[in-house]
Symmetry: C2
Subunit: 218 residues, 2 copies
């Protein structure tokens, strides 16, 4: 399994899809920052190895084996992210790039020991679930802050956009996972929100709200 193959599988997994709604060549090319023709080549190669199903002009979907492989890479990525934050004091906006490299290290013992050292975390620093060794992961009952109704309360549990600029913005505004949130008001004009968070009150644009996941109180 080459690094490139692993990256393709990971991205195909993240793009979702299924046997009935396969992922398009173009979508993969865009995520991989490569050309569609390169994707076609790789699709053939992965199909050859039984990691994806591929029909000319019809796109790609992961096989069971492909899904398993993708999940193991995602598991490694997210565990390394937790490691970097918890053990090496990285901030959550710095971890992705390094984890992209670390996720390709081949050693089952290594990642199991990292898991153990971290006491088997279930979520990464951005609130995304960490698959277990056998590919299972928690699906949290969460919703976007932008979809909550006035008055409802919840706990901030994840980000949809985990780009550095967004994460830095959240840091600057002291918005962090685990914080409680209550929607006080939603502006009709621009859909911005007034929220209460950990005692403070702040105003948040719709764009921000639609990238923050909240777990509602029962």
């Amino acid at each position: 399994m080459t690094r490139s193959e692993e990256n393709y599988l990971k991205i195909i997994f993240h793009l979702g899809g299924s046997d009935s709604t396969p992922i398009t060549t173009n979508a993969i090319a865009e995520q991989m920052e490569t050309k569609p023709s390169s994707v076609t080549d790789m699709a053939k190669k992965l199909a050859e190895k039984n990691l994806v199903k591929y029909k000319r002009y019809q796109g790609v979907s992961l096989t069971e084996q492909g899904t398993k492989t993708a999940l193991s890479i995602i598991r490694k990525h997210r565990l390394w992210e937790v490691f970097l934050v918890k053990k090496l004091d990285f901030s959550w906006d710095e971890v992705h790039e390094v984890a992209e490299q670390l996720e390709h290290i081949k050693s089952e013992k290594l990642i199991d020991k990292i898991d153990e050292l971290l006491e088997f975390p279930k979520f990464d620093p951005h609130g995304d679930p960490i698959p277990s060794k056998d590919g299972k992961f928690m699906v949290r009952d969460k919703q976007l802050l932008s979809e909550m109704s006035i008055g409802s309360k919840g706990v901030c549990v994840g980000v949809k956009d985990s780009s550095a600029p967004f994460l830095k913005f959240l840091d600057k505004n002291k918005i962090a996972l685990g914080h409680t949130i209550q929607v006080l008001e939603i502006e009709d004009f621009d859909h911005s929100l007034r929220i209460a968070m950990e005692g403070r009150e702040l105003r948040i644009s719709h764009q921000i709200a639609s990238n923050l996941y909240v777990k509602k109180n029962e």
Copy 2:
């Protein structure tokens, strides 16, 4: 800097050499487990980048920049080895292979933080010195156990051969770094040694003794 280039530099460094006694193509090929013709190609490439000096048929030697790069990779390798042993309970015979992968991770912050987490170790699990960020490392006044005279005492501080079989042998015989050693007797016939170590007495072949480094008392 590609992974392959890094591996070549590391191996050239380990082979020693200098401007006056450059490393031969064959020696590098053997260490890299590749063919001499491939080494020639890479030598040209590294010379192009000013990482080695290379004259046709005369072998290669590291430039200052090449040495610096090699040391930074060796630093990473050895720090990761310490990490694996101290933080993840790997045994000293398991770390090399994984460190070979981890040493290529590109993040200055990562390795500095690992260094800090480990409290700036000066030696790796095999007793080899860890270069500092600026490429300096301790040179310990050590000698091979096989070169010690009868009666002399010392502390076991390193291994010359760090292959898994040798290290496992040492484990099995409870020979570890930090243990005190006194040479009791040297057999004329096969140069095997009778030694006292941590209260016990044991017999050691010449081959073992010539792969164990000892630091003499005063």
